[in-house]
Amino acid sequence: MPDIEIIHDRYMEHTRRKRLYGGMLLAVFVALMAGGFMTADARNAGGFWDGLGAIFDFPAGVISEAVEKAHTLPATMLEYLPALVETVNIAAVATLIGAGGGIVLSMLATRGLARWPRAIPLFRRIMDVMRAVPEIVIALVLIFVLGGGPVPAMIAIAFHTIGALGKLFSEVNENASLKPVEGLESVGARWAQRMVLGVMPQVAPNYLSYALLRFEINIRASAILGFVGAGGIGYELKNAIAWGIGRYDQAAAIFILLFLTIVVVDQLSSHLRDLLTHGRKKEMLA
């Protein structure tokens, strides 16, 4: 059968070409990994290989001291609870503001949905800028202007979150069906009505899971900002974890608190997402 021979040869040629490209890509990737590692190692003050053996000394110190004073851990954790609440509070407010801003920006930056299609690049660049500036830089500037405390940290994290969530949300928006939007347009709905009533119901579960993931990230970010004077549990951690002073049991208590917080947020997020998607399924069946 000559026909099938031709098909076979063509397919083999196609496969060989794909394999060649794949192989080349892999080679480039390996070269980049090796090159990047060597560059990083050369710039390292201490040297990667010399330090490798000592890498576990610090965690070992923290854990051994924490085990030694295990009986006081619950009390220590309770002592830091108010600081944790402050940190979580910063993260929560920042996430809420960030999600709100992110939703608006994402709608304005999605093809097919945008209010002003020609301004899409502008809104995209705005989000890029918001993501590009490290939150610690914004926090430092604001702390200098407004003085130390939770408000500068909140603004800094919210600013970054708007950019980050805006990008993720606009990707979600791209997968939303335009048919309901067209349906609402046909009845004379305004842009905001089309977005909130036509797009939001489709994308809400995805928005929620991205926002909750961001909440987790923001808890950590807000803890880090405590290091530079934004208050909360980060400030306590900075004092506890410094070399030499040796209050590692307190550091361990703070780590456990942070870990538990992340676990709670994670559980809450999967529960809420379940409710949002499955609750809707039940309605549909009913």
């Binding site: 099938i4 098909i7 076979h8 397919y11 083999m12 196609h14 496969t15 394999r19 794949g22």
Partner: protein
């Protein structure tokens, strides 16, 4: 060859398959009919071990396949190919790769992850596609094909497994009548030419009558009929579908001619 003994599957309080027993002593084409929810899919899925059984045994050449675990279970699955209503292909992969997936159980994980298949296998995959009349679709992505073509790719994947039996779960339920006919004829040919056992869940009586050597009727999880197509009278069909006297075969038919032959007054 195949013996199903008191097979039962419960989902919570529901009994999907209730004490089902039948034996097949030689390769034949078997149609399983019944309303949706009668347990047809669960039955086939238990044979393939996609769903675990609550009780009972499935003997193939004397060995209980329900006892297989791990590698033995996967080897058994490669022996009894499954065809799904929604085709279950990988949409973004090309047709030949989808067919080659039939050999996954025989190949090492590393080679298949990098999409390295022996050239003989590629040749055989294209031959199978040619046998099903879709060789020219070989380099396309599976998602670019029509439903009927996709189902034939799924059959090609099943043939690539070189299986002892082929299980088809509503293979034509999402196809138009023309494509349904092509797919059913392909399954029949595989049975006749290769001598493979085919068990197909069908939701239309006339398909079961025309293509199968034996028909099993299920109702509420129980096997209520097991016989030749000739024994499947309208009365028996009414029992299987739980319908009253107004029931006619045209109501379950997807055949093109059926509507002309039995006009439906709406």
């Amino acid at each position: 060859m195949l013996a199903v003994e008191q097979l039962t599957r419960r989902f919570g309080a529901n009994v999907a398959v209730d004490n089902a027993s039948f034996t097949v002593d030689r390769p034949m084409m078997i149609g399983v009919i019944g309303r949706s929810g009668a347990g047809k899919s669960t039955l086939l899925r238990m044979v393939n071990r996609l769903t675990d059984a609550s009780a009972g045994r499935i003997l193939f050449n004397g060995e209980d396949v329900l006892g297989y675990r791990g590698a033995a279970k996967r080897r058994w699955q490669s022996q009894c190919a499954m065809i799904f209503q929604q085709f279950n292909l990988v949409p973004r992969m090309d047709v030949v790769t989808n067919v080659l997936h039939g050999t996954l159980n025989r190949r090492s994980t590393a080679a298949t992850l990098f999409n390295l298949w022996p050239e003989d296998d590629i040749h055989r995959a294209i031959e199978i596609l040619d046998r099903l009349g879709i060789a020219e679709q070989a380099p396309k992505r599976a998602e670019a094909l029509s439903g009927g073509q996709q189902q034939r790719v799924a059959i090609a994947r099943a043939l690539m497994q070189d299986p002892a039996m082929i299980l088809a779960d509503e293979p034509i339920a999402s196809l138009d009548p023309m494509n349904a006919q092509v797919v059913m004829q392909a399954l029949r040919r595989i049975h006749e030419e290769d001598g493979r056992m085919v068990i197909a869940n069908l939701h239309t009586l006339d398909t079961a009558r025309r293509y199968c050597d034996r028909v099993i009727g299920m109702r509420d999880g129980r096997i209520v009929f097991d016989g030749t197509p000739a024994q499947l009278t309208t009365g028996v069909a009414r029992d299987i579908y739980g319908a009253d006297a107004s029931f006619s075969e045209a109501a379950t038919s997807t055949e093109i001619g059926a509507l002309e032959r039995h006009p439906v007054h709406a």
